[in-house]
Amino acid sequence: MSTVAGTPAIALRRGWWSRARFLALLWLMMLPTLAGLAVFTYYPNLEAVKYALFKWDGGAVEEYRGLHNFAQIFGGGDPRFWAAFSLIGVLLAANVLKMWPSIFVAIVLHRLKSERWQFFYRVMFVIPMVIPGLVALLLWKGFYDPNVGLFNKLLNWTGLMSVLDAFDRGMPQVAAFIATNLLHWNGDSPLWSLLLLPTQLITPLFGGAWGLAACAVVLLLLRDGLASVPQRWMLWILVLGLAAFAWGPEPLVLTIRATVLLGASAALVEWSHRRDPLEARDRLARLALWALGIGLTLVLLTKTWPVATGAFANGSPSWLGHSKLVVPAVILWGFPWIGTVGVLIYLAGLSNISKEVYEAAELDGIGFWGKIFRIEIPLILTQVRINLIFLTISTLSEYGFFLILLGPDGGPDNAGLTPGLFMYQKAFIENEMGYACALGMVMFVLLLFLTLIYQKHLKVEK
């Protein structure tokens, strides 16, 4: 037998001295790389951990402070740092959506029958990789130039600029309407009372769209039924927590609402399971997702475009020079969002799906879209997870991009201030390098936490 094809088995069957020599040789060969990694990657990071406990200005001032820096971060000393995560949340959500074009392209490539054409397209996707990131950055900066940039010219030529202008005038009104009439109790509009009846249920019962979203989360968690008493208690505590977040500190109202919510959810779950146990799970999940979707959509509509920018009226909006347009510009960056590395990774994952699975699916009558959502995407979740981890890391730690585009303060009204840029400010403008290291540690732990969640919940169900 041999564990590795082609390896002389005789070497591995000898005693420990031969094995030790064999392994020592391999270690020696890896030594330069390991040494380089240790010196140039791990050592600086360990130094960062060390200096997170110091007041350090990068020079002569080096004072051990223990956990003081962390106490300041978590003790409300830097609210702007935490506020910057809202931008990260938006970018992360956008980046998750921006993953899908690569997935679809990979699926299309995978489905190509001709290997020659597959190879051709793969090469076509790889070629843009030779363009350095900075060049791509500068190209896109050129696209976004308000006066001569390609982007504004395209929008004007296609007439989309006037559409955007119409949105700019209309969306704030929609947002105001939703905020006033749908998300808050408005007893002064009897004419709308009938129409608003369903929505008037949202606020008193759920405290707003966030409450509706919280309810949806509870339903998702309950979809497998209430199994045991400890689980019920855990859910009760969870609901109270969500309710506190959604409704604010009103203990009595909170308790009543939480009781109603839990009771209603429990009743709904029990009834659903008794009616049709087999379908209950999917039904509850669909219901929860609908509730979540409605709640989040309502909130997004009020928060995304609450104020008219007036930037589109003259046909040359400054995408990187206007505080309200910076974030959309960053989200739009890289359109059509088909990354070479992503496509190749997904393609590698798709190539592992055997043909028999497809044949079985066709026998079951699963169509084009069914194959995508029931076979291909579930089976490449490992690759999706890997990409999501890289995406989260780069989104959370990114600051160079914003520094080059917007400057160290994040541009007008500090619209582009990310946690990474905040860390940069602390380090290089305020000369608080030790504190910046502590911020970096916090972001590292956050990333680790997110990575663990992905590892746990994003996996292929074999």
Binding site: A5, G6, P8, A11, L25, L28, L31, E63, Y64, R65
Partner: protein, 330 residues
């Protein structure tokens, strides 16, 4: 079809096979042994052991100290202390240097500060040589300053130490510094009585030590205490004028003292002539300070004709015999 066992690419198989072949007894391991030997030598190699010669150690320690390499300096001076006889000058020097290395070790810690304090006490209690004075002064500094995060300042202890330096070694240059430090240690409380004590300390010292080398600094600080702390412009102006007579002490800051003199003279003492005089000094003696033009405007406002600003006056350089670094004073 059963799942296939994973196979390595052919290239990797070849590499492993080559590695295994190389590790077999038939293949000479000499090159690899050599590599390992090199690695061991590199890893095991370190600095050569320090010399046992005291003077060499002191020199080495002093060089390390000049580079702010406190760890190495500590090692050198510790060795000297271990070798040198008990009452030797070199041992005292090494003790002081070791104390300084501990005192300013980075990052500072309570342990290192305690070690420094013990060494300073040892020298101070012995009371012999320059080192004793320095040690006593440094004990005061240890008490007065915040040396590490969480350290508490002990102003009464600091003041006591400075007093001891002034009383035990009144003729030493360190005594003047101790007097200055004492005054600052009093003023730190910001209480009027304490500031007055600080003023009294400085004035008393200057009266009894007319040749004090640090007199200009003392007078400049007296001016600061009188004006900023006590609001007494007249005393502040008097002190600064005395400092001016001796020559201000502070590179690139002389014009600031002149500016203060001018403004206080004009605004608080209503002495126009004195104000004009000091504004003129700024224009003529410190034309590159950036405030010369403003000084000219102030002079005009006070009804005086200002001199022109000359960034370089060849006549004054030739008159001074081309001696470097001298600025003419009125």
């Amino acid at each position: 079809m059963p799942p296939q066992a994973p196979t390595l690419p052919r290239q990797t198989q070849g590499l492993i096979s080559a590695a295994v072949t190389a590790s077999s007894p038939r293949c000479s391991l000499a090159p690899i042994r050599g590599l390992g030997l090199v690695v061991i030598l590199l890893v095991g190699c370190g600095d050569g052991s320090p010399s046992t010669d005291q003077r060499q150690l002191m020199t080495q320690g002093q060089e390390e100290l000049a580079r702010y390499e406190f760890t190495r300096a500590h090692a050198c001076f510790s060795q000297v202390r271990a070798i040198a006889p008990a009452h030797d000058v070199m041992r005292r020097e090494a003790s002081l240097a070791l104390a300084v290395a501990c005192h300013h070790w980075q990052p500072a810690s309570a342990e290192r500060i305690a070690e420094a304090e013990a060494l300073y006490r040892e020298l101070s209690d012995a009371g012999v040589g320059d080192e004793a004075v320095q040690a006593q002064l440094q004990l005061g500094r240890l008490a007065e300053l915040r040396d590490y995060f969480g350290d508490r300042e002990d102003l009464p202890a600091a003041r006591a130490r400075y007093m001891q330096v002034m009383e035990r070694w009144p003729q030493r240059p360190e005594a003047g510094e101790a007097c200055l430090r004492l005054a600052a240690a009093w003023a730190q409380s910001l209480q009027r009585e304490d500031v007055l004590r600080g003023v009294a300390v400085l004035e008393g010292w200057l009266d009894t030590h007319p040749d004090e080398a640090k007199a200009s600094i003392m007078l400049q600080y007296l001016s600061e205490l009188h004006w900023a702390f006590l609001g007494d412009a007249r005393q502040a102006v008097d002190a600064l004028r005395k400092a001016d007579a001796r020559g201000f002490d502070g590179e690139n800051r002389e014009w600031m003292f002149c500016w203060r003199l001018a403004r206080l003279s004009e605004e608080e003492l209503h002495d126009r002539d004195l104000a004009v005089r000091y504004y003129r000094r700024i224009v003529t003696d410190y034309p590159k300070c950036g405030a010369a033009w403003e000084a000219q405007q102030e002079m005009k406002r006070l009804g005086a004709e200002p001199p022109p600003i000359r960034l370089f006056d060849p006549a004054s350089a030739v008159k001074a015999g081309g001696k470097p670094g001298r600025e003419t004073k009125p």
